[in-house]
């Protein structure tokens, strides 16, 4: 299968005054298109930093990430933003909906940024898919946590990304709602054929992906293939 993400000798060090903290050290792995992987580890192990670097939200101190054949290191800030818009979708732990936009408008943001025609029609369809067809004009504060995360899923999938990055997508939800969101996430992922990169400390959620990378103190501790990918 074709590699969609390639991580090479990736490292990230944060500096504060004279002190520096190496959060990631020489991380190497690759992800094949259409597969799902989980990045797990304890707090402070570097999961979120790795996700940010893989998604082009942050820049590495050394090493590189190659997404769909494009080296992120060779791109400037705005080129990385353009690449994200074209290839990447996000689901965040805190939903990260824009509070001043309705559910429909939130879903339309990446579509309009990508200059896709019929943005409102597509957004409406995806909100129907996540079961919020009747809540399109509601603002985030008028929705429950589970509903906000559904909007977030609709926003992530509507732009038909190659890769979906999900950061603790159920971390702020109760068990029952978490189960529903998990089900929806994997259902959409399967239907859309998206590559899923999931950051979580929830092992039961991680076990639903094809592969688990465990981080410890900024390094890959283990890399387990759970399912055979054909």
């Amino acid at each position: 299968m074709k590699e969609i993400i390639k991580v090479e000798n990736l490292g990230r060090t944060y500096s504060s005054g004279s002190k520096s903290l190496e959060v990631l050290k020489n991380v190497n792995f690759s992800v094949e298109k259409g597969t799902s992987i989980s990045i797990v580890g304890s707090s402070g192990s570097g999961k979120t930093t790795l996700l940010g670097l893989c998604a082009g939200l942050d820049i590495s101190t050394h090493g590189d990430v190659i997404i769909a054949g494009q080296s992120l290191k060779s791109l400037d800030e705005d080129q990385r933003a353009s690449l994200r818009n074209k290839y990447v979708g996000f689901v965040f732990q805190n939903f990260q909906l824009i509070p001043t936009l309705t559910a429909m408008e939130n879903v339309m943001v990446p579509l309009e940024l990508n200059r896709k025609p019929n943005a409102s029609k597509i957004a409406s369809e995806y909100l129907e898919k996540v079961g919020l067809g009747d809540r399109q004009t509601h603002y985030p504060k008028q929705l429950s946590g589970g509903e906000q995360q559904r909007v977030s899923l609709a926003r992530a999938f509507a732009n038909k990304p190659e890769i979906l990055f999900a950061d603790e997508p159920t971390g702020n939800l109760d068990d029952e709602t978490s189960d529903k969101i998990e089900a929806l996430l994997f259902e959409l992922n399967q239907k859309e054929g998206t590559t899923l990169v999931l950051v979580t400390h929830d092992l039961s959620l991680a076990e639903k992906t094809d592969r688990i990378i465990t981080l410890k103190k900024g390094e890959i501790f283990s890399d387990s293939q759970l399912k055979v990918v054909s």
Binding site: T48, L57, S82, Q96, I98, P99, T100, E112, L113, R155
Partner: protein, 841 residues
């Protein structure tokens, strides 16, 4: 850039965000309203001055001179004239109510149909046309009010009684304030001799007015005759000259007003800048999300810039609209100072320039915090601790800073037309804001140090609110502090000027000046004054003269040679000169040698000039010049330069001759005395007028009272403008309160949840705002006292004292208002049920 998305995003996001931001933008409304109203007023005034230019002069040509002249001197101008009129004008005492009341008035004796343009408006309406025929007089209505006069009453000028045939309500081209010191009385020209008021040496202005339709010929004649008429000592004026001089003086006034209005706008813009800073902080996560979803740095920045521009346009238009309407009231504020009546008019240029200035300054000040959007990392969506944009300051921030300075400097230059004044204005403003910022930071640091000394939880909490993160205390203290600085300064300077003038309250100081005393009267006047029980504190002879030549150049040549840089009044004015052999206590020689007596007038006469006069004449010790005294030329050399303290109530002179030269020249005397009370002064003046009708009396008590009124009117206008700064400060305050409302609600609820009773939350807020008010007032008072001291001592050269009463009144009012804001802001928070707010949060 994806403009369609940018506008969609700006509009959608703006629906919820803009009402909050709009309150902040409201802080520029006052400044723009001030600029638009003042500029509209200025444009309307200039239009009116243009339209009524002829009425300002009343004629097409005016020639005046302090000594009597032969009309043949003006023959080339008379040859062009369709009509002519003559005026003799001077100040004198007038007696009313059969000698029981008297007052200094400005007597104008007119022959002919002056004014040719405009009118002297009287009651009854035909009085201005008839008084010459009837042999009566018309007088300013203030005299009617002051002495309860009626038409038909008599008024005594010198030795002659006249019948009052009309009261003057308005004279075209003259400001109402002119009648405050010496109200006008018009008398028939031919009757003037009968008053015996004009004596040798009397200071009488002789004027010829001509009506000339052919302006081109008039200008050519002036050009051809300029040397002759300058050498003869005439000052001439045409409609264009008058229009220019009136326009220039009001340009100065409106430019000053515009600069004060501009300060209000800058304060508002600082408010906008701080609002945008808070706005941007509240949008950091949103920026991160948009960046994660693929929006570029410039696209996200432009979304918010579009919003700021939109809201600034609304703010600017509202300001312009209020300003255009407010212009309706400005003429009534300034009516006493205006020579023409200004009507309400829609001035498109003033409105467009007001909107442009408001919009530009608002956007420029907003850009500095807004540029931080570009530094926001999309990682803020993943890491909650990354809620601050990068601290890195972009080069573009410095460029915006320079643009702001250029814009402010450009505006100041536009208003003042002087690079130095613009630099001083901008430098002074930056210094004042920096000082306020510094003082408020020090006060906050002080609060931080003393907070632990308070045992009360509410007081500690209230003090801590001043320096906690996201507080607005520095910006509030700075903005309201600057308003306090301006208002305090105006009151302090006004009270110091009045203190200086209230010398008459001091028993040691003179308060009565008698002038126009003829040499043959001086002994009798001395005896009269002493008989009444008053001292003769000073008595000096006065000789009138004009400058004839300076370092070998004639008056005309000096005026023509602009490279000399000698003001034209040095040549044009009539000098009132005295002679004596000793210096008095208000004088000190600072250069050269004082010569008190000469033996012969044929030699070059060593004279002394005041420091300013020497500077104006551009002369040094040993330079030569000549004066014309009633046709005789006196060759002089500069022997000494004196520093003169004009604040002392003495007869101070710019030109001082030694004894032995002017004794036989035409002269009169000034005598200075002190009368014990206002009542005694009134009686004394009446007795003087009855005994010596040609002698005029200046009652310094009356001058003080009038100066008080005039200063009151001026300071009202300036205070009104300074109030705009304070109102802007309050608008920023209201907006700041609104902008931090949600944080305050959360804190309040948290405190209530932890057991704080409602009253504690109210007290915490009230203490915080009381301290903000106190600090703003303290910072403002410190700086205003410093500025007022510097202006009083160095610019006005008057003694400075702190007037505590106005300072305390203004301070208390500002503190009270800000504290009330805090109190009323806390009430709804304290009343909200905890659960409902926590749910919303």
């Amino acid at each position: 850039m994806n403009w369609k998305w940018i506008f969609n995003m700006a509009t959608r996001d703006g629906r919820q965000s803009l009402p909050r931001l709009f309150l902040f933008t409201s802080s520029i409304i006052i400044g723009i309203a001030a600029l638009v109203s003042i500029s509209s007023f200025k444009d309307s005034l200039n239009e009116k001055i243009s339209n009524e230019a002829k009425e300002l002069l009343g004629a097409d040509f005016r020639a005046r001179k302090y000594s009597k002249y032969n009309e043949k001197d003006l023959a080339p101008f008379y040859a062009l004239a369709l009509d002519s009129a003559k005026e003799r004008s001077f100040v004198s005492m007038a007696g009313f109510k059969n000698g029981t009341s008297s007052r200094l008035v400005s007597v104008k004796a007119i022959e002919g149909n002056f004014p040719f343009y405009g009118a002297i408006v009287t009651e009854p309406s035909d009085a201005a046309n008839n008084y010459q025929k009837l042999g009566g007089v018309i007088a300013d209505q203030t005299l009617f009010f002051q002495f309860g006069l009626s038409i038909g009453d008599s008024i005594r000028l010198g030795t002659k009684k006249f019948e009052l045939v009309g009261q003057i309500t308005k004279v075209s081209g003259q400001a109402g304030i002119r009648s405050a010191f010496a109200p006008i009385v018009y008398v028939p020209y031919n009757a003037l001799e009968q008053t015996d008021l004009i004596q040798p040496g009397s200071r009488v202005l002789n004027i010829t007015y001509l009506k000339i339709n052919n302006t081109e010929k008039l200008l050519k004649t002036i050009e051809a005759e300029e040397k002759v008429i300058t050498d003869l000592g005439f000052r001439i004026e045409t409609v264009a000259d008058r229009k220019k001089s009136v326009g220039r003086s009001f340009d100065n006034l409106t430019s000053f007003m515009n600069l004060v209005g501009f300060i209000a706008l800058i304060l508002g813009a600082i408010g906008v800048g701080s609002a945008v800073y808070t706005y941007v902080r509240s949008k950091i996560r949103e920026v991160g999300v948009l960046r994660s979803l693929g929006a570029s740095r410039n696209e996200v920045f432009t979304v918010f810039l579009v919003q700021i521009i939109f809201i600034s346009i609304i703010g600017s238009f509202i300001g312009a609209l209020i300003g255009a309407l407010f212009q309706y009231f400005l003429p009534s504020l300034l009516q006493d100072f205006l020579p023409v009546s200004v009507d309400f008019a829609f001035q498109p240029f003033a409105i467009i320039s007001g909107v442009f200035i408001g919009l530009s300054i608002s956007i420029l000040f907003a850009l500095i915090p807004l540029l931080q959007v570009r530094n926001t990392s999309p990682m803020v969506t993943l890491n909650s601790f990354l809620d601050d944009p990068s601290k890195k300051i972009e080069n573009s921030v410095f460029i915006v800073g320079i643009l702001i300075l250029l814009f402010l400097g450009g505006f100041a230059f536009w208003q003042t037309d002087s690079l130095m004044a613009s630099v001083l204005f901008i430098g002074g403003l930056i210094l004042a804001i920096t000082l306020l910022w510094g003082v408020s930071s020090l006060l906050r640091a002080f609060a931080k140090n003393i907070v632990k000394r308070f045992s009360s939880f509410t007081i500690r909490q209230g003090i801590a609110n001043l320096y906690r993160p996201n507080n607005f205390s520095t910006i509030l203290i700075t903005v309201t502090g600057l308003g306090v600085v301006l208002i305090n300064m105006i009151f302090l300077i006004e009270s110091n000027i009045l203190n200086q003038l209230s010398f008459t309250q001091n028993n040691e100081q003179p308060n009565t000046i008698l002038f126009d005393i003829q040499p043959e009267q001086i002994n009798a006047v001395q005896v009269f004054v002493k008989e009444k029980g008053y001292p003769v504190l000073q008595q000096v002879p006065i000789v009138a003269m004009r400058l004839h030549s300076l370092k070998g150049q004639s008056g005309f040549e000096i005026k023509q040679d602009s490279t000399l840089n000698i003001p034209s009044h040095v040549v044009d004015r009539e000098y009132r000169v005295t002679y004596r052999d000793t210096l008095i206590n208000s004088e000190k020689i600072i250069d050269g040698i004082w010569v008190g007596e000469v033996s012969s007038i044929t030699a070059i006469i060593p004279v002394s000039l005041s420091e300013n006069q020497a500077k104006n004449m551009k002369v040094e010790i040993g330079d030569v010049f000549s004066f014309n005294v009633s046709g005789s030329l006196l060759n002089c050399t500069l022997a000494s330069i004196r520093e003169v303290d004009y604040t002392k109530i003495q007869t101070n002179f710019t030109v001082l001759f030694p004894n032995g030269v002017l004794e036989s020249a035409p002269q009169n005397y000034v005598l200075i005395s002190r009368v014990n009370s206002r009542e005694e002064s009134a009686v004394f003046q009446n007795q003087m007028v009855n005994q010596f009708p040609n002698i005029s009396v200046i009652d310094l008590d009356q001058v003080l009272k009038t100066a008080n009124d005039v200063l009151g009117k001026i300071s009202f206008v300036i205070s009104f403008l300074a109030m705009l700064c304070l109102i802007t400060g309050f608008l920023v305050l209201i907006s700041a309160i609104n902008n931090t409302k949600y944080e305050r609600v959360n804190e309040g609820v948290l405190l209530k949840t932890l057991g704080a009773v409602r009253s504690k939350i109210v007290v915490i807020n009230t203490v915080e705002y009381f301290l903000i008010g106190l600090f703003a007032v303290l910072a403002g008072a410190i700086i205003s006292v410093g500025c007022a001291w510097a202006i009083s001592v160095f610019a006005l050269k008057i003694h400075f004292t702190i007037a505590f009463l106005p300072l305390l009144s203004i301070s208390s009012l500002v503190i009270l208002m800000i504290t009330l804001f805090g109190y009323f802001n806390a009430l709804p928070i304290s009343k909200k049920p905890s659960l409902s707010i926590l749910r919303v949060s």
